[in-house]
C-alpha cells in the first residue's frame, strides 16, 4: 500500500540553521492499517506527513503508493490518493463557500473538474446522508457558509471531506490538537468510525498518548527524525501511557548514552 524507503529530509542544508528533519526513515503500511504516530516536537512527524502528501519534496529515498513511485508527483496530483486533515481547523475548508460547495469540491478529489454543476440534487442528497453520520445537524445547513461554523464543526467537516471519497491513504496531522477537550473527543470518535466504515489506510499524528494507544492497530514513535519504536496491535492493546513513557525514556536514554560514548 504505502511504502516509504530510506527517506531523508534536511531543512536549510549548508547553513547554520541546518536541521535534519527525517533521517533515513523507512515505513511500510498495509491496506487497512491505522497507524498512530507520536513523538516530541521536532521529531519529524509533520515532515513525514508532508513528504507523503507531497507538500515538500523528498531529499533522498523513495515513496510508493500501491507499488508505483509517487516521489516526483506534485502535491495536487498526489491528492488523488492521499486525503489529509490539517491541525488548523481553518485549513481544511473554504470559509466563504457553503457546506455543500465545500463537499462538492471534495467529491471531485483527483478527478477532472469540468463545466457540470458543482451541486446537483443527487449530490446534495448524498451530502445530506454523509453529514447525518457526523450527528452535528449540519445536514440542515447545507447552504450555510463554512466560515460560520465552529472549529469543531469545521474539523469534522474537513474529516468528512478528506475521507468520504475513500482515498488510498488518509493523513491526520494532530487534527484534534487545536480543539477543546469535548470537541476533540467528538472528532476522535468520528475519526474512529469513519476509518472503520471505509477501511481507510490511515496515518495519524497526535500529541495525545492516550489517543495514540486507543486508536488504530499500530503505533510508531519518532525521535529526532527517526522511527525509534514500532508497536504492533497485540502489544499496543496491552500498553498503557506510563509503559509508553517508560519505553520512550529507555530508548532516548540509550541513544544519549550512545552519543556520549561516541563523543
Amino acid at each position: 500500500m504505502l511504502l516509504i524507503e530510506n527517506i531523508t529530509k534536511t531543512f536549510f542544508p549548508g547553513t547554520v540553521n541546518e536541521r535534519v528533519a527525517l533521517n533515513d526513515v523507512s515505513l511500510q503500511l498495509n491496506t487497512g492499517d491505522f497507524v498512530t504516530v507520536i513523538g516530541s516536537n521536532g521529531a519529524g512527524k509533520s515532515t513525514l506527513l508532508n513528504m507523503i502528501s507531497g507538500k515538500l519534496p523528498i531529499d533522498s529515498g523513495d515513496l510508493a503508493i500501491d507499488g508505483s513511485s509517487v516521489k516526483r508527483m506534485p502535491d495536487y496530483a498526489r491528492a488523488a490518493y492521499v486525503g489529509r486533515v490539517f491541525q488548523d481547523p481553518m485549513a481544511g475548508t473554504a470559509p466563504d463557500l457553503s457546506i455543500e460547495q465545500n463537499l462538492a469540491l471534495a467529491l471531485r478529489r483527483g478527478q477532472r473538474r469540468g463545466l457540470s454543476w458543482g451541486v446537483t440534487h443527487t449530490r446534495r442528497a448524498f451530502f445530506r446522508d454523509e453529514l447525518l453520520s457526523l450527528e452535528l445537524g449540519l445536514e440542515n445547513r447545507l447552504k450555510a457558509r463554512v466560515g460560520l461554523l465552529s472549529g469543531g464543526q469545521r474539523q469534522a467537516l474537513s474529516l468528512l471531506m478528506a475521507s468520504f471519497t475513500q482515498p488510498r491513504i488518509l493523513l491526520l496531522d494532530e487534527h484534534t490538537a487545536a480543539l477543546d477537550p469535548q470537541r476533540a473527543e467528538l472528532v476522535t470518535t468520528l475519526t474512529e468510525s469513519i476509518v472503520e466504515k471505509h477501511h481507510l489506510t490511515t496515518l495519524m499524528v497526535t500529541h495525545n498518548m492516550g489517543q495514540a494507544l486507543r486508536l488504530g492497530n499500530r503505533l510508531i514513535m519518532m525521535h529526532e527524525g527517526r522511527i525509534i519504536l514500532d508497536v504492533d496491535a497485540e502489544r499496543k492493546a496491552t500498553m498503557s501511557v506510563p509503559d509508553l513513557l517508560a519505553e520512550f525514556a529507555k530508548i532516548k536514554g540509550a541513544s544519549l548514552d550512545d552519543r556520549a560514548l561516541l563523543g
Binding site: S53, P74, D75, Y76, A77, A79, A80, G83, R84, F86, M90, A91, G92, T93, A94, P95, D96, L97, Q101, A104, L105, A106, R108, R109, G110, Q111, R113, G114, L115, S116, W117, G118, V119, M161, A162
Partner: protein
C-alpha cells in the same frame, strides 16, 4: 444621463472582470483595468483594416486574455509578486498597444462598428440602447454566475479562498489562477473594445483613468448592494459601475470639467475605502486587503 447609464453598463463588463480577479481570486492585480486599452487597440486596428466589428471585438477580448495569461504565468511559474506581475504586464502593454495602433489615437467614426446599427437606428442615448447594454452586461453576469458554480468554477473560488485546502483536494492552483486571470483580463479587454466603438476612437492613454474605475465599481457596488452570494455580488458590481458613471455625470453637471474627473475618481475610491472604517460598511472584510494593495501602488 442616458449616456451615463450606457457607459456605466458597458463599464459593468469591465467591473465583472475586475471582480473575478479581486474578489474571487483574491489577486492584487491593480492595473487589471488598464488591459482595456489593449482590447480597444486591437479591436480598433482590426476594424480600420476592414475586419468585421464582431470579429474584431472578439479579437480584442482575446488579446486581453493573453495579457492575463502572461500575468498569471509570471505570478505562478515565475513566482513574481502578483501586484508586480500586473504592473510589469501593464508597462509592457503600453509599448505593445502603441505598436498595434501605430499612433496614439485611432478614430473610428467613419468605420462600421458594433455601435453603427444602434446609431443609424437612432437608438443610442435612448431607453432601447440602455436595455440592450443592460442585456449584454446581464448575459455576461449570468454566464459568470453559472461558471462559478460549476465544478471548475468552485475550484476557482476555492483557489482564492483557501489555496492550501484546494490543492490538498487535487486542484492545480497554478492552472486555476492563470485561467481566471485570462477570463478576467479578457472581459476587461472586451469592455475596452466596446468602449472604443461606443466613443468612436481608441486612445493609448484611455486605460489610465480606468485603473480606478473597475476597482471603484466593485467596492462601491458591493458597499451599496452587499455581496452575500455570487448572484448578488456580481449584480452589485454592475450596479457599482453605473453608480460610478452617474456620480461623474452629476459632478460634470455641477460645473466641474472633464479634467477634474481623475480627481473625482480618486476621491470616490478614497471614500469607498474609508467609509467601511467608520462602521456602517464593516461587512466587507477583504476591503482591508485592497486597501493595503492600494497603499503599495501609491508608494
Amino acid at each position: 444621463m442616458n449616456a451615463a447609464l450606457e457607459l456605466g453598463l458597458l463599464y459593468g463588463i469591465m467591473a465583472l472582470g475586475v471582480y473575478l480577479t479581486f474578489r474571487i481570486l483574491n489577486f492584487p492585480d491593480l492595473p487589471v483595468a488598464g488591459r482595456s486599452t489593449t482590447g480597444a487597440a486591437v479591436a480598433a486596428s482590426l476594424i480600420i483594416n476592414g475586419v468585421p466589428a464582431p470579429l474584431a471585438t472578439l479579437a480584442g477580448a482575446a488579446s486581453g486574455a493573453v495579457a492575463g495569461l502572461v500575468t498569471g504565468v509570471l505570478y505562478t511559474k515565475g513566482r513574481i509578486d502578483g501586484l508586480l506581475a500586473g504592473i510589469l504586464t501593464m508597462i509592457a502593454l503600453w509599448s505593445i498597444n502603441l505598436r498595434i495602433m501605430g499612433k496614439s489615437n485611432l478614430p473610428l467614426l467613419r468605420e462600421d462598428t458594433l455601435m453603427t446599427p444602434l446609431r443609424d437606428a437612432g437608438l443610442l442615448g435612448g431607453a432601447w440602447s440602455i436595455l440592450i447594454f443592460a442585456g449584454a452586461a446581464l448575459v455576461i453576469k449570468f454566464a459568470i454566475d453559472w461558471f462559478l458554480s460549476t465544478d471548475l468554477g468552485l475550484s476557482i473560488q476555492a483557489t482564492g479562498n483557501n489555496e492550501q485546502m484546494i490543492r490538498s483536494l487535487g486542484v492545480n492552483t497554478h492552472r486555476t489562477t492563470i485561467l481566471t486571470l485570462a477570463i478576467s483580463n479578457g472581459l476587461v479587454a472586451l469592455c475596452g473594445a466596446l468602449i472604443a466603438q461606443y466613443q468612436g476612437f481608441a486612445d493609448v492613454s484611455m486605460g489610465i483613468g480606468l485603473i480606478l474605475v473597475g476597482l471603484a465599481s466593485v467596492i462601491v457596488g458591493q458597499a451599496v448592494f452587499g455581496r452575500r452570494n455570487i448572484f448578488l455580488a456580481s449584480l452589485a458590481v454592475i450596479g457599482g459601475a453605473v453608480i460610478y458613471r452617474l456620480v461623474i455625470f452629476f459632478a460634470l453637471g455641477a460645473g466641474l470639467n472633464p479634467n477634474d474627473m481623475k480627481l473625482i475618481s480618486a476621491l470616490l475610491v478614497v471614500a469607498a475605502l474609508l467609509l467601511p472604517r467608520w462602521g456602517f460598511l464593516k461587512r466587507i472584510p477583504s476591503l482591508r486587503q485592497m486597501r493595503s494593495a492600494a497603499a503599495v501602488t501609491a508608494n
